[in-house]
Symmetry: C2
Subunit: 311 residues, 2 copies
């Protein structure tokens, strides 16, 4: 711990902005297998492959992240040589998808905290081995909204767990360990400011409830198991709303906690697919869903272009 704390302090002092591992066991030069991305420091040159990464964009669905990779390529006017196309760097596995578009890395993370946790452990190690510096992380996802028109984008100010606490409880070596789930407030503001008055949708800030389950954990009445009444559901969701919670999803708490620990600035933008104060079932046409999916991507693309001075 003291070595790691020293490295942390040293890195901050030198203004490196380097990705920090809170783990003195992993050395930059060590052989390391990123099993769930089918990458290995002995068979891949991480510095060459990923040393220039400045933005990591993650989302649940591998297909959606493939679309995002092609979208951001156009936005950045990034030209591939004739006869070349983007390809999934992690295609030897199907646990996650991974794309690289210049300084942007795009990865899928599946559904839920355990799944996003594995992805973040391995992507943070990837950036560490690559020597990447000043990297920003964005989660772009879908969610249920609270008291919002479906299609609204919520940028997370503070994630909370299912007991409405701004922390992530973990079970480590047989004990409960609590971690702060903190996002960077400036990056949150910067992302919200990327909304345009010409947008056909609203972008707002709010607290985000992050749950371990889509049905009972999110107070749905339509799961295979439901042991509460419609009234109890409505009361709980209203309580969430009164607490400033504007959307519900399944990854932001872990994303915030791990970015915070790794000294990485992160932000979360999710589009609401329905208003949970009114309904439980997502029944949106494929076409609508596709266009809504792109909304958080548009915000993040604008931020990246601003940072890179691309018109």
């Amino acid at each position: 711990m003291s070595t790691e704390a020293n490295n942390n302090e040293k890195s901050k002092k030198e203004g490196h902005g380097a990705v920090i591992l809170h783990n003195p066991n992993v050395k930059e030069a060590d052989a390391d297998v990123l099993y769930h991305f089918a990458l290995n420091t002995e068979s891949h040159n991480f510095k060459d492959m990923f040393g220039d990464v400045k933005f990591v964009c993650v989302g649940g669905s591998p297909r959606r992240m493939g679309h995002f990779a092609n979208f951001i390529m156009k936005e950045l006017h990034y030209q591939l040589p004739a006869g070349q196309a983007l390809t999934n760097i992690a295609k030897a596995t199907d646990r996650y998808a991974l794309y690289k578009i210049g300084p942007v890395l795009a990865a899928s993370h599946g559904m839920g905290i355990p799944s996003v946790s594995i992805m973040l452990h391995e992507i943070i190690k990837l950036l560490f081995h690559a020597g990447a510096k000043d990297v920003l992380f964005f989660r772009i996802g879908t969610c249920g909204g609270l008291g919002l028109e479906a299609g609204t984008v919520v940028v997370t100010e503070q994630p909370v767990d299912g007991l409405l606490r701004p922390q992530m409880d973990m079970q480590i070596l047989g004990k409960v360990v609590t971690r702060e789930a903190k996002l960077d407030p400036d990056l949150c503001e910067e992302l919200v400011s990327c909304a345009s008055i010409h947008d056909t949708f609203n972008t707002i800030k709010g607290k985000t409830m992050c749950t371990m389950d889509f049905y009972e954990g999110q107070a749905r009445l339509d799961g295979a198991i439901c042991e509460y009444t419609e009234e109890e559901k409505a009361e709980f969701l209203q309580k969430c709303y009164n607490n400033g919670i504007r959307n519900i999803e399944m990854e932001s708490l872990c994303f915030a906690a791990m970015c915070h620990q790794a000294n990485i600035k992160g932000a979360v933008a999710c589009v609401t697919l329905l208003d949970r104060l009114k309904e439980d079932q997502i029944d949106v046409s494929e076409k609508t869903l596709k266009s809504w999916d792109e909304r958080p991507a548009h915000l993040v693309a604008r931020l990246i272009k601003n940072r890179l001075n691309i018109a």
Copy 2:
């Protein structure tokens, strides 16, 4: 609750073996969207499609479950007409993959409890709407072993959480709810008895620790974050071993708790990819991995063939 309890009692008395929803809000005739499988009772006839399902086999990776579907098709001597091939029923989404081979349904569930929970909610509702009866569930997966030669198959007697408790704690409507995580002991024995003296691997019974994270949750030293020493890790894993835990994975607790609540007999068989008392990194060749992956599938195939009287 009383309606549901009555239905439960009634179903048991009548010996239906029907899949039971612990949710009085969902009626068999209701329109229902299974969002993460891109299936809908209004656009699909569940009774025709799934009414004859007797075995549900699930595993993390969609690719592996595609291989399993083709494997079980051969094992059951199930012939497709010329010019036809198995296809992913859920291909309109990429959240999960779903295959049907006669009485066998094969689905992927991604990684971790939240991901397997969504899949189980929707598969249990699918079977309920389909009117399927006497259905057995199997999880076939990969895991870390404790004190076992890599490649050994562990059939779970009892899953425990990261605090070594045989229960699943959930956060529902802002409160902690505890569920029993019980598997069917007879089905466990039946699956173990499907091991053959001609197998090139060992099959054993044991407790399974189910964690929320692959790195810190499983006492690995090689994550992006690690706040314990090698000695503390070794002490914890030895304590697990002394408690009868023989393998570590990320879904069995939820699988057991949800099967138990839905009156479904379930069993879990996972192949160990490494011995966690010796190492942290999975560095097995693709070829070896593929052959190990098939070991739990072979056991389950034998059980299904015994049940169906197929030689």
